[in-house]
């Protein structure tokens, strides 16, 4: 008698655990599926950034090698001649003989432009307003839904909740009857529409789980909130990126302000105080290029100009392969190399994150990398859409059709799991607190709402 009771109890707990997990999966899915679809679509396009930009910006990128290259100074002079009141912020010499140079400038009305210069003729090939660059906009959509910090946090939240979706989804998918792999690894086509719809969601979802988790985990380190916290934490332990590669300030030029030559801005008269004129002056961009060459910088590097008197010239290269990355800071007055960080100088976690990023962007292994990532993105879209469809077909007219709520207090393990996830991903934790608050303050007090949500 008692054993039967125990068995039913056990069966009930099992069933109610299933219900609880399903309920969380259901709500998380309904709320975050649209964002995951956006991320997958924008990501699919952004994967092919280099191919797309090579086609649409061909006229800006390609040059005919002929004779000697003119100096970097002369190239920048040309950009300054075209935009007299602008400030030069970056210079990119071009990674090979057929590639134009780029001079990035900030115009007087605060627009960022890139002027493309033919390094053989010294003529401008045209300029692009950075605000008009379509791939940059897609990246912005992918990273922050074009909504700044708020968008960044939403994307991060969606990514974190996608992990919750994966964990709960795997639980729901996990085969309860042994031996039969149909409906687990292959969809059942001949068991009726309902079953087919379920398999159309669950089976592909299982297949892309690893890839999806990989994209989430490699994307998170460059999210604005979790990513920055994570980067600071690992950089502080000595196992991450060296400071300034991802977060942290570049070193300063070693100089005392009194030693710097003052430029007599308003020198209308001949009476210029000698002491103001006398002093150190910055090294030229040509010398910076020479230093880059002698230090063996990856040819795809960009020079970032110092933005104040203590600033440094920064050479930065993030080429397709993680192991080619390099960041060098140069004293703007002496040309001394103040810091030289290559991939080999990254800590272990820094190296892993760097690989994660190039794999996520699809650049590490070129086309095959892009195609695999594209397949995962398409899989995410299929799974999100089929999940939605699954619900839509099953949804009763009058309410959401959510699985019945069971007090979470009875689900010790599940509760601990959610708290754990909430701590590792504080945004998830924060959103859980908000959900609990809404549940307690609003939903529990309005019967109609309660019924609609099946709470």
């Amino acid at each position: 008698m008692s054993s039967i009771k125990e068995a039913t109890n056990k069966k009930n707990t099992k069933a109610s655990l299933y219900q609880t997990v399903w309920r969380w999966h259901f709500y998380a899915g309904i709320i975050f599926a649209p964002f995951l679809i956006i991320l997958a679509i924008t990501g699919s396009i952004y994967l092919f950034k280099s191919q797309i930009e090579n086609v649409i910006y061909q006229d800006y990128y390609e040059v005919n090698p002929q004779g000697d290259r003119i100096t970097a100074t002369e190239q920048i002079e040309e950009a300054k001649r075209l935009y007299p009141d602008s400030v030069v912020t970056k210079y990119r010499p071009g990674e090979n003989d057929e590639r134009s140079s780029e001079v990035s400038i900030m115009t007087s009305d605060n627009e960022s432009l890139t002027v493309f210069i033919d390094p053989y003729t010294g003529k401008s090939l045209g300029e692009l307003n950075n605000a008009d660059r379509i791939m940059d906009r897609i990246e912005e959509f992918h990273g922050e839904l074009m909504a700044g910090t708020l968008g960044d946090r939403i994307v991060e939240l969606a990514a974190c909740w996608a992990i919750v979706l994966i964990v709960t989804g795997l639980f729901l998918w996990f085969p309860r009857k042994k031996k039969d792999l149909s409906g687990v690894l292959i969809p059942r086509f001949n068991k009726g529409k309902k079953i087919f719809r379920r398999d159309l969601h669950a089976v592909p979802a299982f297949w892309i789980t690893a890839g999806m988790l990989f994209l989430i985990m490699t994307g998170l380190p460059w999210s604005g909130f979790w990513g920055n916290q994570f980067q600071a934490l690992v950089t502080n332990t000595g196992f991450g990126y060296p400071p300034s590669v991802w977060i942290g300030d570049a070193p300063s030029s070693i100089v005392q302000t009194k030693d710097i030559a003052d430029v007599p801005w308003a020198a209308e008269t001949l009476e210029v105080p000698k002491s103001e004129v006398q002093g150190l002056i910055p090294i030229s961009i040509d010398e910076v290029v020479e230093i880059a060459n002698s230090e063996g910088m990856h040819p795809s590097y960009t020079v970032i100009f110092p933005n104040d008197k203590e600033g440094v010239f920064t050479l930065s290269a993030f080429p397709p392969k993680a192991q080619d990355e390099a960041t060098i800071h140069i004293d703007q007055y002496t040309g001394a190399v103040l810091a030289d960080y290559r991939y080999d100088n990254y800590g272990l976690i820094g190296k892993i994150v760097a690989w994660g990023i190039t794999l996520h962007k699809g650049t590490q292994f070129g086309l095959i990398n892009q195609l695999i990532s594209l397949l995962i993105c398409l899989g995410i879209i299929l799974v999100a859409v089929s999940g939605f469809y699954l619900w839509w077909k099953r949804k009763p007219k009058k309410d959401l059709g959510a699985p019945k709520a069971i007090s979470i207090k009875k689900m010790k393990f599940f509760l601990l799991l959610m708290i754990g996830l909430g701590i590792v991903f504080p945004l998830v934790g924060l959103s859980l607190i908000v959900v609990l608050a809404i549940d307690w303050l609003i939903i529990k007090r309005i019967p109609r709402l309660r019924k609609f949500l099946n709470a």
Partner: protein, 156 residues
């Protein structure tokens, strides 16, 4: 019991949300460079018909560099009328290196030190004034005010 868990949970989350930043001197945990530092000393007064001495004090990792791999001086005048090509410096000991030259013509000058030691190479450049500035010097300085890019290389 459940309340306690909830409170601890909120505490941990707020601790994490309040965030962490980089420790000072975190760069010491990673590869470090040993940049040379230079202090270029220009004489206060220049007199006609006498050689004047320009000095440079070199330090590296807080120590005086007594025997640098190389120290060269290069001096030229803004208007191109004076040009002292790259020349090895005299080692005065104690981390000080010097060069002595005539500065008989007034105007805007540049001195560039090329120095290297233990893998660090520097090329600091200082501008200085002998006597009074000419109209051409002032034009040059005003032009420099508009464009940060140095064009002195043309004078070589």
């Amino acid at each position: 019991m459940k309340k306690n868990i909830f409170i601890i949970f909120i505490l941990i989350i707020s601790a994490v949300l309040s965030g962490c930043s980089l420790k000072p001197n975190v760069e010491k945990l990673y590869k470090e460079e040993t940049p040379l530092e230079a202090e270029i000393i220009i004489p206060n007064n220049f007199s006609d018909n006498e050689k004047e001495t320009i000095q440079v004090n070199l330090t590296q990792e807080g120590e005086k560099v007594k025997d640098a791999d190389f120290v060269h001086f290069e001096i030229w005048k803004q208007d191109g009328t004076v040009k002292y090509y790259m020349e090895e410096a005299n080692n005065l000991g104690n981390g000080t290196y010097s060069i002595s030259k005539d500065f008989d013509s007034e105007g805007l000058y540049f001195v560039k030190v090329h120095a290297g030691n233990k893998g660090s190479i520097i090329m600091p450049r200082k501008q200085f004034v002998v006597g009074e500035l000419s109209e051409s010097d002032l034009d040059f300085l005003r032009k420099g005010a508009q464009s940060e890019i140095e064009v002195h290389e043309h004078h070589h």
